[in-house]
């Protein structure tokens, strides 16, 4: 689906998650900021890992060589 499209999907999911956390647990400005930080950190971590795995397979230097008996 393309790198950019999926990155966009990740950012949209992140925004929706932060809005949800603001709606569900609205407990004062400092708690809101904490929740926002947690959601953004989680989104960034997950996106980074996906991006690394995706980019590593975009232009492969090694290809799968099946083993005997498959």
């Amino acid at each position: 689906m393309g790198f950019l499209v999926t990155t966009l999907i990740f950012s949209v999911v992140g925004i929706i998650a932060s809005i949800c956390s603001r709606i569900c647990c609205n407990r004062g400005p400092s708690a809101n900021l904490l929740h926002l930080t947690l959601v953004i950190t989680a989104t960034v971590c997950c996106w980074m890992m996906w991006a690394i795995v995706y980019i590593a397979q975009m232009k492969p230097l090694i290809v799968p060589i099946l083993s005997e008996g498959e």
């Binding site: 393309g2 999926t6 930080t37 947690l38 980074m48 996906w50 397979q57 232009k59 090694i62 290809v63």
Partner: protein, 809 residues
């Protein structure tokens, strides 16, 4: 954000009038937001004001412990639903406890006495019964013998017989040697030794007859059941009697007197039986009474013990206050968070009102240079993560708290090492059992390991959720890949697929959209590909986390207003790390994006060895050589930048401050005492040793420079553990489950399944979890926190009743 930096704390002085002291402290304990400082630390425990009160509480606690012992012996347990009746006053409670204790002790003593006499009577009855049997049978035998002799006498009428007869008839009672006897009861195992010793001591001049008692008999002295024998010893002579009595006492044989008269025997047995019945009823009534008393105690026990603990802690706290006898008030000093000021003032007001005092408590904020304790306001979710951070060191007051990021990055790094969504689901199920039963478990008393798992349930939940995510990315469900997100990218070169095992497949479609392509599993080139990808991933994640750490040090420096640290520590550190390892990360990404065949090891090493050489086929982008030389120079410049400026600037700062003070001394006319005081203050406060500062900075620089290389390499453990996990998982699947499946036998399949489950739970779910947990922890404590965290604070420990129950157990 509250969790990022400690709550602002203030040093507060409370001046409490004596009459409202107890109540105010009690209310403060309920609130749990004030940490008292010990103002009487030089005094011994006996010199303190409230030592007698504490002794009273100690006495009451002892009585309560005694009651608990008694209840345990009777098999009762304190009822959990304690009577929350009106506040029992401490004095009343003391009196009540004293009364109950006396009553209980008396009852116990009485019961024991009654029981003892009961047992003695039982033994007496047995002795009488058995001994009368002896005598009865012996008399029968004697009577039979007598009749025989008489028959013989009547039968025989010869000349010799009258002489014999005379001799026999001469045995009249007065010349008869009177036989005495001793009767009693002795434990069976000692009976043989008893017989032997008796024989030896009396030179065989006694006759012992024993008879066993069926069934065990309770010994009155020891209260235990034992097998016993009834014995009767026949002897003649007073001295022998003394010997026998002494031997009986030595062997613990109980002696009971016995009459030969048959009528009296029956009478005695009847009397004894009657008495036994009476005693039994008395003992039973006594026991019922005791159990009733213990039950009433059990009903109130929890409430009483809680009250006593509370009072004891209140008096301990009161002992920490300094007493001002002239003004009849107590002075307390302590730390409290600034946000709690109103609450504390309200509570103190309440205390004044409730104790009918004329004077209110004074709440006075003090200015101090002391470092306040650190307080983070955590809830049940964040407290577990904060504990993980605190285990390394409590944050200095108002330092940036790594706990904020640890909530996400710790489970994330765990998941990178654990990635398998099947195992993640198992962990999630296990921890949801604890989370759903939260209320039930928090009131129970759990074992040590269960307690730890329960405390960390939210950590494990986060770890499980992230593991499911990384498991989907690595495409491993108990090491089996699935094609969940679209078709695989790889296909055969030609329709016949001849080269699949030699040259391999080719990329025919777009990249597999989410995670590792499922075609890789089981191929010969799986490990080289995955190893390369995971190692590069570890470096990228590591550089990202270390940069986050250095940025947090920037925020710390900005918060404390430490310009020096920003310019001469943060900047050179950022430049050094990113010009080397940031550049490596960039190279990795560019190589992946362009698909070039450049050798990154070669590029990095020759960047240092011969930077001006032509790159040739290792060129990844235009201008690379120029960029590399630039970055190398930047890194080389940043090292002395980290080392030299800071000590010199610190010295200059210190000199300025010092010079300023010496000006003040010259201008103002201070008396001698003030002068010396100032002098002492300044010299002791800032012992500025330039060499020490310089060495400190040198160590810091070397640590950072070498650490940059070693810490980055340390992140490779993410790759290592993830490889170990996937290999173990794949071995268990291929060599256990598939092997069992191949036999086509249901029994072998069941055995195989059982072994697979045991191995998965034992090795992968328990051992690997602990292992990945430990390594993720190490990465956080050393590589991440080492970049910015000082951790030299102390924890805020308020006086609170909520922590009482846990700390005393």
């Amino acid at each position: 954000m509250d969790l990022l930096r400690s709550e602002t704390m203030q040093l507060v002085q409370l001046i409490i009038p004596v009459e409202s002291a107890h109540r105010s402290i009690s209310y403060l304990g309920d609130l749990g937001l004030f940490q008292f400082k010990d103002l009487n630390s030089e005094k011994s425990p006996f010199q303190r004001t409230y030592a007698t009160q504490i002794k009273r509480c100690g006495e009451m606690a002892r009585k309560l412990r005694f009651f608990k012992e008694q209840m345990r012996k009777a098999g009762l347990s304190p009822s959990t639903r304690s009577a929350m009746s009106d506040d029992v006053d401490l004095d009343n409670l003391e009196v009540k406890l004293g009364e109950l204790e006396v009553e209980l002790i008396e009852m116990n003593a009485n019961n024991e006495k009654l029981q003892q006499s009961y047992n003695e009577l039982i033994e007496y009855k047995l002795v009488v019964q058995k001994a009368s049997e002896f005598f009865h049978s012996a008399q029968n035998l004697a009577a039979a013998k007598q009749r025989e002799v008489e028959a013989q006498q009547r039968g025989e009428g010869s000349i010799d017989s009258p002489l014999l007869l005379e001799q026999e008839m001469v045995t009249d009672p007065s010349k008869q040697v009177k036989l005495g006897f001793v009767s009693g009861i002795i434990p069976r195992e000692k009976s043989l030794a008893f017989e032997r010793i008796l024989f030896r001591a009396t030179r065989g001049n006694v006759f012992l007859k024993q008879s066993a008692v069926e069934g065990p008999v309770t010994d009155p002295a020891s209260g235990e059941k034992a097998e016993k024998n009834v014995f009767v010893v026949f002897y003649s002579g007073e001295r022998v009697r003394n010997k026998i009595v002494k031997i009986c006492e030595a062997f613990g044989a109980n002696r009971y007197s016995f009459t030969e008269d048959l009528g009296k025997q029956y009478q005695i047995i009847a009397e004894v039986s009657e008495r036994l019945e009476e005693l039994k009823t008395t003992i039973d009534v006594g026991l019922v009474h005791q159990i009733n008393l213990l039950q009433t105690i059990a009903y109130h026990f929890e409430q009483w013990s809680h009250l006593v603990k509370k009072e004891k802690s209140i008096y301990h706290t009161l002992n920490m206050l300094s007493i001002d006898v002239t003004r009849k008030c107590l002075v307390a000093e302590g730390w409290c968070p600034v946000f709690a000021t109103n609450k504390i003032q309200n509570v103190l007001q309440q205390g004044t009102v409730d104790s009918n005092s004329q004077i209110g408590t004074i709440f006075h904020v003090l200015q101090t240079k002391e470092s306040p304790p650190t307080y983070f306001h955590t809830n049940k979710f964040t407290s577990a993560f904060q504990e993980i951070v605190d285990a390394y060191g409590i944050a200095k007051y108002q330092e940036a708290n790594p706990g904020v990021f640890t909530i996400i990055t710790f489970p994330f790094l765990f998941a990178v090492m654990f990635g398998d969504w099947g195992h993640g689901i198992c962990l999630l199920l296990a921890t949801s059992y604890f989370i759903i039963g939260e209320k039930k478990f928090s009131s129970q008393k759990l074992g040590d390991i269960t307690e730890m798992i329960f405390g960390g349930r939210y950590v494990i939940m986060m770890m499980a959720l992230f593991s499911i995510y990384t498991g989907l990315l690595y495409n491993e469900f108990f090491s089996v890949p699935f094609e969940l997100f679209g078709p695989s990218a790889y296909g055969c070169r030609d329709p016949s697929c001849r080269d699949a095992t030699t040259a391999g497949l080719v990329k025919v479609r777009t990249t597999y959209p989410f995670g590792v392509d499922p075609k890789w599993h089981g191929t010969r080139s799986e490990l080289p590909f995955l190893n390369s990808m995971k190692m590069k991933m570890s470096i990228l994640l590591g550089v990202a986390q270390m940069n986050l750490g250095i940025i947090l040090s920037y925020f710390n420096a900005k918060f404390y207003g430490n310009e020096l640290n920003i310019r001469h520590q943060f900047l050179p550190q950022m430049i050094f790390l990113n010009s080397l390892f940031g550049y490596l990360s960039l190279l990795i990404i560019v190589k992946w994006c362009t698909g070039s065949q450049a050798d990154l090891y070669h590029v990095m090493i020759y960047m240092f060895l011969s930077p001006t050489d032509d790159l040739g086929e290792n060129q990844l982008f235009f201008g690379q050589k120029f960029l590399q030389i630039l970055l190398l120079l930047a890194a080389l410049v940043s090292v002395p930048w980290m080392l030299f400026p800071k000590p010199f600037l610190l010295k200059k700062q210190h000199d300025e401050r010092h010079r300023g003070q010496s000006y003040a001394l010259l201008e103002t006319n201070l008396d001698d005492s003030d002068e010396t005081e100032l002098h002492h203050g300044s010299s002791s406060h800032e012992e500025f040793q330039f060499s020490e500062i310089f060495v400190h900075q040198l160590i810091h620089t070397i640590e950072f420079v070498l650490g940059a290389v070693s810490n980055t390499a340390s992140y490779l453990r993410l790759w290592a553990l993830s490889l170990a996990h996937s290999e173990l998982s794949s071995v268990f699947y291929d060599k256990v489950l598939l092997l069992a499946w191949g036999f086509n036998n249901i029994i072998i399949l069941i055995i195989g399944l059982f072994v697979f489950i045991c191995a998965t739970v034992g090795v992968l779910l328990v051992m690997e979890t602990l292992s990945a947990f430990l390594h993720a922890l190490r990465l956080h404590w050393v590589e991440f926190q080492g970049k910015f965290y000082e951790g030299e604070g102390y924890k805020f420990q308020p006086f609170s009743f909520a922590s009482l129950d846990t700390e005393d157990e």
